[in-house]
């Protein structure tokens, strides 16, 4: 009886794992040797709104990952907390008032990874599953998980 129960639990856990994979997690990532060790949510929001965020006196270079629509939704709802039109306007205001730079926008995961490999001050976000086996990429924090 106990054996059957154990098999049932294992099967159930297996099914749950299929329905809710660990990859449904968005993480903040940098190159492995980046000076960024931690970043609070306010700083992350500022960063992706184009506001200068400095680490050791050097500004970070935000890279907006636009490789899929769900990631875009997570970005707008969880990271900058505004609609696409409001975000657009904030970016325009920053450039107009202060000459702030827009975050770089890249449409595929390999291009985001390339940008991170090439710049120790670059910072981006991606699905955990896309960086789990990337030794040159370091996860700074979890931004969202379903």
């Amino acid at each position: 009886m106990r054996r059957h129960l154990l098999i049932a639990v294992v099967l159930l856990l297996g099914l749950l794992a299929t329905a809710r994979p660990a990859s449904q997690t968005v993480v903040l990532v940098v190159r492995w040797d980046s000076a960024v060790t931690t970043l609070d949510s306010v700083s992350v929001r500022k960063l992706f709104l184009g506001v200068p965020v400095l680490v050791n006196g050097t500004p970070l270079h935000p890279v907006r990952n636009r490789s899929d629509t769900l990631l875009d939704e997570v970005f707008l709802q969880q990271i900058v907390a505004m609609s696409q039109s409001a975000y657009d306007r904030q970016i325009l205001i920053g450039v107009n008032r202060q000459g702030w730079l827009r975050p770089t926008e890249l449409a595929s995961t390999p291009r985001v990874l390339d940008a991170l490999y090439g710049d120790p001050n670059a910072i981006s976000f991606m699905w955990l599953r896309d960086v789990a086996h990337e030794p040159r990429i370091r996860v700074v924090r979890v931004l969202w998980s379903d």
């Binding site: 709104l49 200068p52 400095l54 500004p59 657009d88 107009n96 008032r97 202060q98 000459g99």
Partner: protein, 368 residues
Amino acid sequence: MKMSPNSGIKPMRISLLRLAVLALCSPLARGDPLQHEFLLMPSAQAVGTFDRQAPVTEVVDQVVQADMLFSLQKGPLRLFGEYLLSDHEGDLERFQLGWQMSQDTVIWFGRYHQPTSVWNHEHHHGQYLSTSITRPAMDEWEDLGGILPQHFTGTLIESSNPALGDWRLRWALGAGIAPRITPDGLEPFDLVHPDSRRRQIGYQARASLHPGEFTETGFGVFAASDELPTIGLATAPIPNLDHVDLKLLGGFGAYASNDWKVLATVYHASTRLIAPLTTRSDSFAVGYVEIERRFAGDFTAFARWEDSANGSDAAYLQLFPAFFRTKHLGGVRWDFLQRQALTLQLTDSHTLKGRFTDVRVQWSAAFF
């Protein structure tokens, strides 16, 4: 290199550019890649005036313009400029070399928009970011009949710091070469065609409190002290007018939500007109309230009320015959496609010498 007598300031222009290039190549910026940004904000408007009883309106029937912003950044250093090209003028409006001293503070050197004008500090020259087509008369640019100096060349420090829990204190301090008074109105220092004859320094300060890091809602105070020399005036409110001491004190409040935006500003100006044998002191006040309401379908309705006190009696304002004593305007804006807008605006204006009404239609856009 030999300079002609009239080009005594040319080295300043060369030095500023050299300073910018040297700064971007300095050890401060070493190791960080050069990054850049370019923003184009074109607009076109047509204006019709009617019911016209004022001798001077300073209204141009049609304006096509392109506002271009560029930014170069390397490490904590930033070179930022704004060039406005229109069918009437081409001006380097802002040209600033900035050093990001900390996450919250930046110090600028160059030509900047003075921080006591809340409107101009928020919108600058780009028409797309302004809901109404025209700006308040008290914030009008110098070359369009503006009564207060707006462009200075010197140093500007801007900062935003935590205060009172989650609130933020935003402040700015500026000191720079002030505009001078000519027969055509105020004339700021021009970096492209520099002329340093009869120039003085002006000072500005602004501080405001905001309930959050990113909100426009807040309130604040500002002050400025400028000495404005005159040059080439054939007629003046007092004989042989040499310069004007202008002192400004004011405050503003703003409320911004998804649907509503309200902005109110008031200035009190004390002026002292100084001639070798006489002086004349006056004061006047100017202010405005603008209300904006967003509706479904990307429509925004807006209305603004501008007024002044003691404007008719102030000798300083006699230097600006097109100054608007009162102004009432209203209109509607429709945002369409990506970053494009059409705006219709109706204005009733009262100058010191008469009144008129105008209707305007504008297309504006922003392109990266």
